[in-house]
C-alpha cells in the first residue's frame, strides 16, 4: 500500500530511509519542518532527488551566480532567455533566435555506453525543443581513458555508436565537437552533448504552469521502471526491511548532473554506478529515437497551433521534476492524479512513477478549450497523450494515488528552494609543486630531422590524430544545411534557404591546462572556442558550458571549480559573451582519483552570409600563408610535453582577451570581404598541427620559411593563444595587412601553399615531409587500435 499523507500524520515517528536516498540529517529535518510532519515516501523520494546535487546545484549555486551577474547583451541584442530556463535563447537578427545548451551524461555512458550516450543526445534535444525551437544540430565533447586501454575499447565505440545511432535516427546533423584521452577518464568518461535549435522570436516558450483550471498533459512514451535504481529502497515492502539497498547513497552521488540552477529536467539518470548493481530495478534507460522524432514534429505542430501555455521536458527526476518545476515557476498550485499516468509496467509504485526517468516524455500546460485540439495533433503523430491533472488556485502540489493523497507540498520547496551549501574550498598544496615543475629541463628537439620526427609523433598521438573514425559514424549533412562540419574549426549551419543567415558552434577544453591553473584553464577553453568560431567567419555571441569536476566535498576540487567559474565569468565579461546556461557535473572520479578539471565551453556565433564562411583547409596553390598573432615560448602543458615527455607541469599559456577580440575582428572582417582562402586556429600542437590539418584537408602542400630570428621548435610547437594560420587569396595581402594594422594584430608571412601533386610540407632549412607520410601518421592511430579489439 502507498504511504499517504494521512499515514504520515498518523505515524510521525516511522523510520524512513532518507540517508539511503542521499539526504543529510539536517536536510531530512528541514523537510519535516516544511511539511509540519514526516514526508510520505513519495514526498521523500521527490525531495531526495530534487535536492540532490544533480538537480539542486546545492554546491555550485553560490559560484554560478557570477554568470547571472554578467551583462545579458550580445553583439546582436539582448538574450531572450538566459540562465534558469531549459536553455538560453539568443537573438541572431532577422527575427530569428537560436537556443543552445550542453549537458553531461557521463556516468550513464560508463555503465552502458551505447544507451547512456544515446539518451544523452535525446535529453538535450528535448531541452531545446521545450524552448519552442526546432532542433537543427548536435555536437559532442568526449573524454576517454587512454586509447590503448581495454575498457576504452568498450566505452568509446559504444558511446560513438550511441550518439550516432540516436542522432542519425532523429535526422540531426552532428557538426563537430572534440574527443580527448587521459588516464583520469578511464573509469569516468565524459559525454557532453550539445544541441542547437532555431525559432522565430514569437515562438519562444517558457517552462511554467499558469492559469487555474488549465490542464496538465503528459505526452510521449509511457512510463516504465527506467533509471530508478536508487529509489527502489522506497518500493521495497516496508521501510524496516530496507537493508541491502544502501547502494542508494553511493549511487546517487555518482550521477550529479543537471541543468543550471532552477531549471529543468535534462536527462541524466540519477542513479547507479553499474559497478555494483544492487538495486532491484535497473537504472539504465533505453532511448527510442523514432519516438523522439515524432515528439519533435508533434510538439512543433502544437506550438504552431498556439495550444501551449507552458511546457517542460522530462529528464532527470522525471515527473517529480516536471511537476514541481512547472508549478513552482507558475502562479498557482497543481493537482496530479498519478493513476492516469500511462504505465509500461503496472507494478510500479507511486514513488517509482514519480522518479522514473523513462525517455521521450514531455509535459504541457494547456487551456481547457485547447485540450481536444492538442490531443488530436498527438493522435495524428501517434504520440500517446494523457491529461493527468490541472493547475489549481492554491499554492500546493498535490498528487493522488488510488484516491488518496500521497504528495502535498509547496512546489517551490522542492524545485527552487533546496539546500544551498557554501562548501569549503582551498588551493591545494600540490598546486605550487605542479606549477613549479616546469618544462625547462625537458630536452627539446634540435635540427630538422628531430623536428620532423617530433611533428610526426605529435600528429599521430591520440589527442591530435584524425578523428574521422569517430565522426564518420555521424551524419553531418542531413537536413542539407551543414555549411561547415568537422574537421573544420567550427560547425556552421544555415538557418534557412533564403537569408544566408547561419550559426557557428565550437566546443573546447584543454583539461591539462585546467589542472595547471583552473582559472586560466577555463579561460583558455573559452578563448579557443571563441577563436574557432571566429575562424569560420562568424561573430561569437554567447556561450554555454559543461563543468565536469570531481567531488565537491573535496576542498581542492571545490577550489578548482570556483576558480574555473571565476575565470569563465571574467572571460565572458571581457569578450562580451554572456553565459546562457549549462550544466555542472560533479563526482567525476574513480575511487579517490578525480578527473582532470574539465570545464567544456561551447561558443555560438552568427554569420550573416554563409557563402562567406572560411574553411580550415588550404584551398589553392600559390596562396600566401600568414600567421596572425604573436608566438611566445609557451610549452608547459602542451601536446609536445605530453606526447614526447609525458609531462604535465608548469604554467599554461597566457590568455589575452583583448588580443583574442582583435584577432576575431580580423578573421570576421577578412571573411566578409572574401580575403581568405583558409583560416585555422592554433591550439593543441601549435603551428605544426595547424599546418598539417590545413594541408591535409584538400591535399595541398605548403612551403614555410620561418623568420630568421625564430626558434623553429618554439614556432612550430608552442601553444601561445590568440593566433591563427591563414592563407590569402590572390591580391588580398594588402587588405589583410591593413586589417591587422587597424586591429593591432601581428602579421607574419610564413610561406605559400604548394601544389596537390606530390604535395609536401616543407619548412625551409629544416625538413621536407611528403604529405602521404604525414597523412599516414595522422590517420592510422584510432583505426589501428580499434582493429585490434
Amino acid at each position: 500500500m502507498a504511504d499517504t499523507v494521512g499515514d504520515a500524520a498518523r505515524t510521525p515517528d516511522q523510520a524512513q530511509p532518507w540517508a539511503e536516498l542521499g539526504l543529510k540529517d539536517d536536510e531530512y529535518a528541514r523537510i519535516k519542518e516544511i511539511l509540519g510532519r514526516r514526508p510520505t515516501s513519495s514526498e521523500l523520494a521527490m525531495y531526495s532527488v530534487m535536492w540532490s546535487e544533480h538537480c539542486s546545484y546545492k554546491s555550485s549555486k553560490v559560484h554560478l551566480r557570477q554568470f547571472a551577474e554578467l551583462p545579458t547583451e550580445t553583439p546582436v541584442g539582448k538574450l531572450l532567455a538566459g540562465i534558469g530556463e531549459n536553455a538560453g535563447v539568443v537573438d541572431i537578427g532577422q527575427g530569428y533566435a537560436v537556443t543552445f545548451k550542453i549537458e553531461s551524461h557521463n556516468h550513464p555512458s560508463y555503465v552502458e555506453p551505447y544507451q547512456g550516450a544515446a539518451t544523452g543526445v535525446g535529453g538535450i534535444v528535448r531541452d531545446i525543443l521545450a524552448m519552442g525551437a526546432r532542433p537543427i544540430g548536435v555536437m559532442d565533447s568526449l573524454r576517454f581513458g587512454p586509447l590503448h586501454e581495454p575498457d576504452t575499447a568498450r566505452v568509446l565505440p559504444g558511446v560513438v555508436a550511441g550518439i550516432g545511432g540516436y542522432g542519425n535516427c532523429l535526422g540531426l546533423p552532428n557538426i563537430g565537437g572534440e574527443v580527448a584521452y587521459d588516464h583520469t577518464y578511464l573509469g569516468n568518461p565524459l559525454v557532453n552533448a550539445l544541441c542547437v535549435g532555431v525559432l522565430r522570436h514569437e515562438d519562444l516558450h517558457l517552462a511554467k504552469a499558469t492559469g487555474a483550471g488549465n490542464q496538465v498533459i503528459l505526452y510521449g512514451a509511457s512510463t516504465g521502471a527506467d533509471g530508478i535504481g536508487g529509489v527502489s529502497v522506497l518500493a521495497s515492502e516496508s521501510f524496516d526491511d530496507a537493508e541491502g539497498t544502501n547502494a542508494g547513497q553511493a549511487e546517487r552521488s555518482t550521477e550529479q548532473v543537471e541543468a543550471y540552477p532552477s531549471t529543468s529536467s535534462g536527462r541524466s539518470s540519477s542513479t547507479s554506478s553499474g559497478r555494483k548493481p544492487a538495486s532491484k530495478r535497473p537504472s539504465v534507460q533505453v532511448g527510442d529515437p523514432f519516438l523522439e522524432k515524432l515528439l519533435i514534429e508533434c510538439t512543433l505542430e502544437i506550438f504552431a497551433a498556439g495550444l501551449i501555455t507552458g511546457i517542460q521536458d522530462l529528464g532527470g527526476a522525471g515527473l517529480s521534476c516536471a511537476t514541481s518545476e512547472l508549478a513552482s515557476a507558475g502562479d498557482g498550485g497543481m493537482h496530479i492524479d498519478l493513476d492516469l499516468v500511462p504505465l509500461r509496467n503496472t507494478t510500479l509504485s507511486p514513488e517509482e512513477i514519480l522518479m522514473s526517468e523513462s525517455q521521450e516524455r514531455m509535459m504541457a500546460i494547456v487551456e481547457p478549450e485547447h485540450v481536444e485540439d492538442f490531443l488530436a495533433i498527438c493522435r495524428k503523430w501517434d504520440v500517446l497523450a494523457t491529461v493527468i491533472g490541472e493547475v489549481t488556485a492554491g499554492d500546493r502540489l498535490v498528487i493522488d494515488w488510488h484516491g488518496e493523497t500521497v504528495v502535498d507540498v509547496p512546489p517551490r520547496t522542492v524545485a527552487h528552494e533546496g539546500p544551498v551549501y557554501q562548501r569549503p574550498y582551498g588551493r591545494p598544496e600540490w598546486q605550487d609543486q605542479v606549477q613549479a615543475n616546469g618544462i625547462d629541463q625537458l630536452p627539446r628537439p634540435a635540427g630538422g630531422e628531430e623536428l620532423a620526427d617530433t611533428l610526426l609523433r605529435l600528429i599521430g598521438s591520440p589527442n591530435l590524430c584524425d578523428k574521422s573514425w569517430v565522426t564518420d559514424q555521424y551524419d553531418r549533412y542531413v537536413r542539407g544545411n551543414s555549411v561547415l562540419a568537422q574537421p573544420d574549426d567550427a560547425g556552421v549551419l544555415r538557418i534557412d534557404e533564403y537569408s544566408g543567415l547561419g550559426v557557428a558552434l565550437a566546443t573546447d577544453c584543454n583539461s591539462r591546462f585546467a589542472l595547471l591553473d583552473p582559472y586560466a584553464g577555463a579561460q583558455l577553453a573559452l578563448a579557443e572556442a571563441y577563436r574557432n568560431v571566429a575562424s569560420s567567419g562568424a561573430e561569437p555571441l554567447a556561450i554555454t558550458d559543461c563543468l565536469n569536476f570531481g567531488s565537491p566535498e573535496d576542498p581542492a576540487i571545490m577550489w578548482q571549480f570556483s576558480e574555473a567559474v571565476r575565470g569563465l565569468a571574467d572571460g565572458c565579461r571581457a569578450l562580451g559573451t554572456p553565459v546562457t546556461g549549462g550544466n555542472v557535473s560533479f563526482y567525476n572520479q574513480t575511487g579517490s582519483t578525480p578527473i582532470l578539471p574539465t570545464p567544456v565551453v561551447g561558443v555560438l556565433g552568427v554569420i550573416d552570409d554563409v557563402t562567406r564562411r572560411t574553411s580550415g583547409g588550404f584551398s589553392a596553390a600559390e596562396h600566401p600563408i600568414y600567421l596572425l598573432g604573436e608566438t611566445r615560448d609557451e610549452l608547459a602543458g602542451s601536446a609536445w610535453a605530453q606526447v614526447i615527455h609525458d609531462h604535465l607541469g608548469g604554467r599554461p599559456p597566457e590568455v589575452d582577451f583583448a588580443q583574442e577580440k582583435a584577432l576575431a575582428e580580423v578573421l570576421i572582417r577578412a571573411s566578409r570581404r572574401g580575403l581568405l582562402g583558409s583560416a585555422h586556429d592554433l591550439a593543441d600542437g601549435g603551428l605544426a598541427q595547424a599546418l598539417v590539418e590545413s594541408a591535409l584537408r584538400y591535399g595541398f602542400g605548403a612551403r614555410i620559411e620561418l623568420p630568421s630570428e625564430a626558434d623553429p621548435f618554439v614556432w612550430l610547437f608552442s601553444e601561445t593563444t590568440g593566433r591563427a594560420l591563414v592563407s590569402v587569396k590572390e591580391g588580398a595581402d594588402r587588405d589583410l595587412a591593413s586589417l591587422c594594422r587597424i586591429n593591432g594584430v601581428m602579421l607574419t608571412k610564413l610561406g605559400v601553399v604548394t601544389a596537390q601533386e606530390d604535395a609536401s610540407l616543407e619548412v625551409v632549412g629544416q625538413f621536407m615531409l611528403p604529405l602521404t607520410r604525414i597523412r599516414e601518421a595522422w590517420q592510422d592511430t584510432i583505426p589501428a587500435v580499434m582493429a585490434t579489439h
Binding site: E112, G224, D226, V284, V286, F290
Partner: protein, 101 residues
C-alpha cells in the same frame, strides 16, 4: 546449444514496441511483442559441466549485454532430430542456467 537473449522485462524495448504497433495496424489486435535474439551454437565434443560454464561465460561476454539484457543457455538436440513445426515442444530441452546482470 541455444542462447536466447531478451531485453530485461523492465527495460524499454523499442523494436518490440514497433512490431506491436505494426501488428495492430495490420489488424492483429491484443498482441504485445518483446523482441530478443536467438543464437544457435554448434559445440564440438561432449557437453560437460565445464563446457556449459564456458558457453555461459561466452554468452555473458559477447552475446548478451547484461546491463540491459537477460540470457538463457540451453542444450538442444541436433536440428535434424526434430520436426520443424513442433521443434520447441519436441526437442529435448534442458534448462540449465538463467542469468541476469
Amino acid at each position: 546449444m541455444v542462447v536466447d537473449v531478451m531485453p530485461k522485462p523492465e527495460i524499454l524495448d523499442p523494436q518490440g514496441k514497433a512490431v506491436t504497433g505494426a501488428l495492430a495496424r495490420l489488424g492483429f489486435a491484443g498482441i504485445s511483442v518483446r523482441q530478443g535474439k536467438r543464437f544457435e551454437l554448434d559445440v564440438i565434443g561432449e557437453i560437460t559441466e565445464d563446457r556449459l560454464a564456458e558457453v555461459h561465460r561466452a554468452a555473458e561476454t559477447l552475446l548478451a549485454n547484461t546491463v540491459i539484457e537477460t540470457f538463457n543457455v540451453r542444450v538442444e538436440e541436433a536440428p535434424e532430430a526434430s520436426e520443424e513445426d513442433d521443434q520447441a515442444e519436441s526437442a529435448e530441452q534442458t534448462e540449465l542456467a538463467t542469468q541476469a546482470g
